[in-house]
Symmetry: C5
Subunit: 351 residues, 5 copies
């Protein structure tokens, strides 16, 4: 979980609100900027090296998708801010990888920030990456924490003019991006569910202390996912209410998916509580069995040991010792004691 909570949110403290400071994991790689410009008739994609080079594309009638990978360089972010007249507080939120998912509407554009979730294939841990969008009819500026993303299908579609995307505006492009983000939430939830079922199977077979740590790990993952998904409900609902009817249907559909995933999380949460109960009950049941074995052994042998102790005493006068069959009588008596005990345990259903 350290990967998620490490960034020191407080390092800005005292710096004042209008200073742009990156908050997040240390990152020294260069910021990558890719630009895709398209309308119904044409499409063009190129790597940009200076933010100012975007200017030419933005005033045109086409839709411009500027994809910025890396939010740690305040110069780049500031240049974008100046170019597109973005409010300083928005720039601050973009550079703060710990921002809460939300949407805000400004005169010229809409600002969305959210978390992309991914389950690490090897450790099963949930990874978060911040994604911010500045959206207007004519452009979408996308800020990712790192290079490499899952939006290639959209790029492919724009290139090959598949689907409706080339005839629609920036709000539709933002919808396509959000749709993929939500699909990844679904995948993360599915991975969580399959882990829950796996752990359940393990407990039913053989629970160890390791299993407990796994359950607690799942609980942490759940909290993290919830933290990323829940604020999105409100955000996407807000968008769907602000948009006009045609595009609103699409955001409405996203909203339904995110509500569903949020409900699934509640369900998984109860399932994890179930796991804890199952784990503890399994421990209790085992403890009970151990106690029974202990009690049975003690209850059977302690009286017998006493009896043989009696006849090991060295008194001068102990008449039984001199009975010819004394030994066999005592052995027989002890056998009877054992049989009586066994009957008692059977009656108590301990055997």
């Amino acid at each position: 979980m350290t990967a998620i909570h490490n960034p020191q949110r407080s390092k800005k403290a005292g710096l004042g609100p209008d200073s742009l400071v990156y908050v997040g994991k240390k990152n020294t790689s260069e910021v990558q900027i890719q630009l895709i410009d398209y309308n119904a008739d044409y499409e063009r994609s190129e790597k940009i090296h200076h933010v100012e080079d975007c200017a030419a594309f933005c005033d045109s009638k086409s839709v411009t998708w500027i994809d910025i990978a890396g939010i740690h360089d305040s110069k780049v972010i500031e240049a974008i801010g100046n170019q597109f007249h973005i409010h300083p507080l928005v720039l601050e939120d973009i550079m703060n990888s710990t921002s809460r998912p939300k949407v805000e509407f400004f005169d010229d554009y809409m600002f969305i920030t959210m978390k992309m979730l991914e389950t690490d294939a090897t450790t099963g841990e949930v990874q978060k990456e911040q994604l911010s969008l500045i959206v207007s009819a004519g452009f979408v500026i996308m800020f990712q924490e790192q290079t490499g993303d899952d939006f290639d299908p959209i790029r492919e579609r724009i290139k090959t003019a598949k689907g409706k995307v080339r005839n629609k505006d920036g709000y539709y492009l933002a919808y396509l991006i959000l749709d993929i983000v939500v699909d990844k939430y679904i995948a993360t939830n599915e991975s969580l569910l399959s882990q829950i079922e796996e752990v359940e199977a393990i407990i039913l077979k053989q629970a160890t202390e390791q299993t407990l740590h796994r359950i607690l790990g799942l609980r942490k993952d759940l909290i993290d996912i919830k933290h990323g998904i829940d604020p999105m409900k409100e955000a996407i609902n807000t968008i769907s209410l602000e948009m006009d009817t045609e595009i609103s249907k699409y955001y409405r559909d996203l909203y339904d998916h995110i509500i569903y995933e949020s409900e699934n999380l509640s369900m998984y949460r109860e399932m994890i509580v179930n796991l804890m109960d199952l784990y503890h009950s399994t421990l209790s049941v085992k403890m009970n069995q151990v106690m029974k074995v202990l009690t049975i052994m003690t209850t059977i042998f302690v009286p017998l040991t006493f009896i043989v102790g009696v006849y090991g005493m060295n008194f001068d006068y102990m008449p039984e010792l001199h009975e010819p069959n004394g030994y066999f009588f005592v052995m027989g008596g002890m056998a009877l004691v054992v049989i009586g005990m066994l009957f008692y345990f059977r009656k108590k259903r301990w055997l």
Copy 2:
């Protein structure tokens, strides 16, 4: 529970929102289409092989009920979509067997998707099947996951012109369908309740580790049912608010039933928590008894064993050993110890 969670909701990921892909359990059987057309004066029912054959019926003044069993064939769903001008997102929801229950209103029609619940008679597990309806005054298109359903009473009624159904429009037909779905919720809940009572009786008689698994199974069933029923509250309420007064009364009545079942689920949930408590308390009480037996045996025999050990020592000079009645005095002393112990335990209420 695997039966319910297996469908890989995420398999669409990256495919883009307007592509129609079936999400659910693999199904290769052919899609069945049955059409019932009726008005106050006539009724006609036939099997349809091509979606296009529906066209003739739909423009007429009668009510047309198209029942499609199988949602895995995107060609059929697409053909329906073209024929009736259904929004692509609706078609997507229909083909996704993991959609969340909801209602949506479009210009020409209302779209409802929900889960039918059934308790498997042998395993007691809850089975879910998706049911989607596209409803207008003139037609109801019904999409089920599988062939075979519980709507024969409605078909019978339409055939024999029993009740009001032949004089009413598609919204009333949709109400009749929903009424049966809700009746099945009631039956599922009743089955859950009777299982809860059965498990309670078992715990009071003889709890085993198996009982714990049953309780956890009931909890899972409850979660599943809740997941199916709870979103229906909002959906049916929305319908009752959108309809005009006459038909709204009927949907209002459905709403009351579903609220009641939802409240029952909360009650069952508390009852299941009760079961868990009862189970664990029963374990604790047993553990306590086992501990008492162990303690009583140990407390009685350990001092006695010590005493007989003393007189088993081989010291040259141990005066008691040579007392003529030493043996009997010692035996008597030990008897007194036992009696004292028993009094003590009686006082402590351990016996």
Copy 3:
């Protein structure tokens, strides 16, 4: 609890919504109809055998109170429905003893259905009986599940013209009926409270497994009562908002009482949770004491038994055995061990 949950709510399934079917405990007794007609100046009360005989009274300017004991005869209910033009869904709710408490307003009348609660004097179990009212200014039709009720004080008052009742309309009569129903809720809650206090006293004295069952029984009773009272809050609030100011004051007052009882139930719920905690803690404390006794006995006697075992060995050469005072030295040594142990336990506060 069986008494409450047995009625098979699902037995209507598949029958269609406009068919009148009784849902509840089997009842074969004849339905009793009693009619009281009154205004400021006169009062008349008689037993009715045919529903049609009510007609004469209903058109008059007086208030007519028709009390129907028995809801299992669909013919009677249907006749009432025809006579007073009651909506079929209302008739259905009246015959369904598992309906959820609610109020509904129609053009000509108001429909209320609720549960009367009663604590069985011998078993302490909570009994539910359904009570439905159809109310207008000129008549109140009351449907009870069984004969015998607690409304005699109202009948007495009408007869003797005590209080304001003879000068008021049907809505005031309905208020008087509801007031008695709510008074019975109060009595049920008081009985629950006194049982809680009784069980608490028992636990503090001597908890047994029986006590646990009683606690769980109280929890069930609480759930049942909550299930009956909680929906009444909304229902009575709705009435008080719909009525005009004069009569509304009275319903408002009822509302205050029901809110108070609902809050009391939350309080009792916490008290029952307290009882569970107290019960379990008492078990734990006892277990702890048992463990201490066991440990003290073992810790004292096991080393001593070892020591005497040492001097019971049969080695040819064991110098201590031949010391003249060896025996007394060993006995003294063991006494010292015991005293040391006792000091240790005293320090550990186990004694």
Copy 4:
């Protein structure tokens, strides 16, 4: 707790709503009436014996504060009702010491009923006393359950014309009264907090079964206080919304205090849950220690006892017995066993 819950709320059942019956603890003392009449210029205070004597004061331009100690005499209450035209339902609430705190507005006056709380200095139990106010610009009628109250500072102020009270109307006087009631809530909460901290200190030092009862007692006190304070939030908020701006500020301030106390109660509740956890964990930790001691003693001495038992056997041929140093070898071997055990326990961190 009996002191609080004893009054039989249900004893009115069946009596009908307009009959005035006292509900509360039996009280046979005579009702005391004290009247204070004041305006900016004069002040007069006297004991009243007949309610009718109030009449003269009430029509004057001054503010009249009638303080009635004792609500068990229906004649007095009824006389007040007639004199000031109070609604019968209000009179009923005044005489019912179990009424829920609330405020109601009538044409001529405002009615408030609430609980005064006090922590019994010796037992630490929370005592409730009902206080009802009928307030208008010209008079405040105050009904207390018993003689003796905490309002002397107000009387003093009126007498000495200290503060603003003499220049203000009855609503300000009511505010002063409520302010003292709320100050007593604060004191009750503080007493609860200090008891919580005291119990925590006890648990950390030495928890006994008594401590558990104290924790549960605190929980009960909390429930009782919550029951008294929580409905006041709504009531005082309602007043502050109904009053005009000037006086509303004062009620607003009261509202802030009561919200704060309500939040404190939630905090105390968590602290009490903390106490329970601490108590149980302390028990578990102790049990664990006891178990460890038991296990260490058993694990060390049981094998040793076995070994000495071996050499106490009476076989004719046991070669070790005749070794000259056999005894010392065995003793040394056992010492090694003990040392090995101690190492093992050290490794397991049991020592």
Copy 5:
């Protein structure tokens, strides 16, 4: 925690609402007043000794920031009240260090009171300090409990005309102050999180009773922080709704941060519950291991001790004793018993 709860909130009880009394920790130091006056063109900062000296600055067109460190001197507070026409109830709230965080709007000014939080570096305990602001376009009066604060960066900025502050009004200055307060909340939360993670690591390594106290301490800290932060959500939201658009953006941004921290607190709360579970499970697992060791030792040696006891009996006739290899047969038999036991434990997975 005592540091936080000690101030006796009730000590005002009975004093009447318009008397100014300090509620908080005893403080005898002199109140410090510092004044900063600025506009776009000039800046001036000086120490003030008499409240009246502020008058000159306040009527000017500049923004005046009066910083009062110490709220225990009613004369100072009263003088400020007279000078700036502050409502007496506001003055009372300022002097009550236990006031609940809130905002109130008056005709001429806005009043905010809140808690500053700080984690004590050595004990890890959370310290609260009350901060109240009276804000208008032309002045900000700030009341702190103690001298020494974290607002130097703002003072620095005003002095050096860095950022926008010199061109903006008092509401912007208040925003800057609140921004630092919120930044300190973030730091407090981060400190809590790192403590949670530290305790988790400790439990996984070696839990002791001390660890439990630390968990409970974290829970207390969490409650305290929540108590300080949660009411701020509502307060800052209210401000952002009351302000005009330009400045509102800034308060909106604060609101987002505080919502996020409040959600983080919920997350930490779950993590602390996780810790408790982990702690208790670790205890259970250990107890289980201890029990297993005990049971294994007892189960192996108790039967063996019985066997050797048998052959230590002194019967005259015990044939086995005289077998030449009897001793070796018995030893071999006992070895077989041990091996059997070990197999059994292996099968039970206790070894």
